[in-house]
Symmetry: C2
Subunit: 455 residues, 2 copies
């Protein structure tokens, strides 16, 4: 039996296993889900153990890391697979058509929070390897799995783990399936991702909510002031107005510009799919460049005062805003956090107190496109999807790839099985059944292709 | 027995009755409290009926109006008492030291939502009149009560009721106890109040929350855009930047300036009491002038995107903000709503859709200070509080006073028993026991003083 035949024969069990994994509400941002997260990690350990992996849970200050290895022969190349079993918060819940943690298949899609980001994707890798193990009794390479539970909470504890376990994690190449294909017709290998920096801004005014009649006019209003400050993050041309923000921002190279230009990118379809009246952003760049190769500064949430039905005539005691910035090479997230803090403190009026919580982030990442690993990945994708893949950049961030490069010296292959309209981080997250299937197939071929590289 | 003796003898029953009234969670802004509001109106009808009033509930499109009258003799002057039995939402609940709808007395204060605004205050008027009725068997004037349930929701239905019931409401003067004294040492009659205008701004971006990595840079972010727009409501000098905003704004007269200057107003104490690092506002005016005699534009609530623990890297589908503006004579609330809408639509970028819900409001009100009614009110306050009152302006709004003047042609006496630190519209609303007691006494003297005016 070939691995592809095995996948076909075990289809029903494979989906059952995936659904078990998707049912855990592993929202890492919320402490109320601590127990669910531990249960999911235990389940993964057990599952990998059953396939012949030596699996262990490593506790962290936050959520546990699942580590598993299948060592065939020290002379063979070693591949480190990375994934994350935590998910984004499902809110707003009322916009979900099916409950986020009750997975189901409908109209060719697997529906659930985490279906695509990232449970469904790293699980395709596991299931592909399972097909190889079950049909040949071994693997053509040594395999290590590192599956964390804090990716959606900025991987707070993983870098420390990597630094402490360099030997354990030693490998020739990292494989990450946590990105999207170019579109439904074009599978892809991603050669670049943006970095990220995250801050929260708090504006404190009076010591309690005040009546806006009795106090309005002489008391600095935290909402008005926060708005003025956030409003000053961009200039009229859509450029970010934080002094020094673009200092380390590498211009888009001619090679990348050409590469991106080759892709059949359709701005009208993009605009239509998300229902916006006009495209937005920095002058002088194409939409695809703006989405993948230029930095951003987006408020992700804002809150202050009375938000219920009707009105409440108050000057609130405080207001706050969550802001993330996407970074490109060679921007440093800590430097960017310092710069936005300095700027916000400078433009804040003396009538309020302002605090900026700096959560750091990760640098952008770029993989050399002409390396043998990328070519091997391309061959595996062709075998799995039946089509030659394109080489693309993505606007999202996989911070841990920077750690792999800087701490372990290993390049990462971004072999994404998702689609851009899979609603990751949004209500109704989904993953195409056909992408999951072709992902499993790709994963069953990939170790053979990677084994060839070192020969 | 004198009315004052009656009040003393019935102290315990009087507080029991007040507590019954305060226990109804009559939050008019929230539809979930509809039944509580009806129950409270029924309770008031019953209570006034027991005192000899002919009491009726008038249904409206919103919450019912309690109307009650005690007609002694058509030749006597008629006094129309206005109050409201609805209250502000109690949120944020976690900041209350005692449950908002479980009234109690502690350290000389009655603690409950509505204790001061306005249940405790209009109830003092009822209890003062009760003392007169119970000790003399009648009243020296005809009395009408109009107690509405929508004041904290902008009295949406009261103006229609007043227009339809001009004859029913005919009176020589209106009495409203819904303001504050100057301070704990100085009782006051209020001769001016600001008006109000209320709008809600909605900014709609993509058709769902989007991943800020995959979409950031080419999609207008509703939070960033809303902030920029709200930030442009004021200029650098604290002036409101809406074109034409100040067009009908009457300058503060020399007489009012002098009147306000006479009051022992302490800016340092004001700043300290509310815990702000510096005073804020329009240049060229004293704090007391800014609080009472200049218009404002305050955001009362803002909401958008992810507001929970941790982060969520999204571009939200929408963001919104509630804004109220305090008005001074002769600003028109509908005109002001139109102007802010026009301005916001003009400064909104084409990358989003913007909607402004205009809720209207009320003009400011000023009562002539040298009239005989104000003098009579002053004498009643002196009898109740044992001190000569001062004449003051307040920054809050009692929109219905404008209706009384414009529709019925009647001036309003603002006889407030509260204090500026009674936390109205804030957590831990309270009302001094001594202010409630002196309020009841004032109310027992007031009808006699008002009866003298017409003689």
């Amino acid at each position: 039996m070939t691995p592809f035949e095995y996948l076909k024969q075990n289809e029903s069990k494979r989906f059952q296993d995936l659904f078990s994994l998707l049912r855990f509400p592993t929202v890492s941002a919320k402490s109320e889900h601590k127990e669910d997260i531990i249960a999911c990690a235990e389940w993964l350990k057990l599952h990998l153990g059953e396939l012949g992996f030596k699996a262990t849970l490593y506790p962290t200050k936050g959520h546990p890391i699942v580590y598993a290895e299948y060592i065939v022969d020290k002379k063979l190349p070693t591949v480190l697979y990375y994934g994350h079993y935590d998910v984004q918060p499902p809110e707003p819940l009322d916009l979900w058509k099916t409950p986020p943690f009750e997975p189901q298949i409908k109209d060719g899609y697997i529906l659930a929070r985490g279906a695509c980001d990232d449970k469904g994707q790293f699980f395709a890798q596991i299931k592909g390897l399972e097909a190889v193990i079950k049909t040949s009794g071994t693997l053509p390479v040594n395999v290590k799995f590192l599956i964390e539970g804090e990716e959606e909470s900025h991987s707070a504890n993983l870098p420390v783990f990597i630094k402490k376990n360099k030997k354990l994690l030693r490998a020739e190449v990292v494989v990450v399936s946590d990105t999207a294909q170019f579109n439904k017709e074009l599978p892809a290998v991603t050669f670049g991702l943006r970095g990220i920096a995250f801050v929260e801004v708090f504006v404190y005014g009076p010591n309690k909510d005040l009546h806006s009649g009795g106090f309005g006019g002489a008391v600095g209003n935290p909402i008005n002031i926060l708005c003025t400050m956030v409003g000053k993050l961009h200039d009229k041309d859509g450029k970010i107005a934080i002094p020094g923000f673009y200092k380390d921002c590498k211009p888009i190279s001619r090679w990348v510009k050409n590469q991106l230009k080759k892709l059949p990118y359709n701005e009208t379809n993009f605009k239509k799919a998300i229902g916006i009246p006009a495209l937005h952003g920095e002058k002088g760049y194409t939409t695809y460049e703006k989405l993948t190769s230029r930095p951003t500064c987006d408020a992700n949430g804002i809150t202050g005062g009375y938000q219920g039905e009707g009105g409440k005539t108050i000057i609130p005691a405080m207001a706050s805003c969550k802001i993330t910035m996407r970074l490109v090479p060679d921007m440093n997230p800590h430097d960017i956090c310092d710069k936005i803090e300095k700027y916000l403190m400078k433009i804040a009026p003396k009538t309020v107190r302002v605090k900026v919580n700096k959560h750091g982030g990760a640098r952008a990442v770029e993989v050399p496109v002409d390396g043998p690993w990328l070519e091997a990945a391309g061959r595996a994708i062709k075998a799995g999807f039946g089509k030659e893949p394109v080489f693309i950049k993505e606007g999202g961030s996989i911070p841990i790839a920077v750690e792999f490069k800087e701490t372990l010296g290993i390049d990462t292959l971004f072999i994404g099985f998702g689609q851009n309209d899979d609603n990751i981080h949004s209500p109704n997250e989904r993953f195409r059944v056909v992408d999951f299937e072709n992902g499993c197939k790709t994963a069953a071929v990939l170790p053979f292709e990677l084994a060839r590289v070192d020969k």
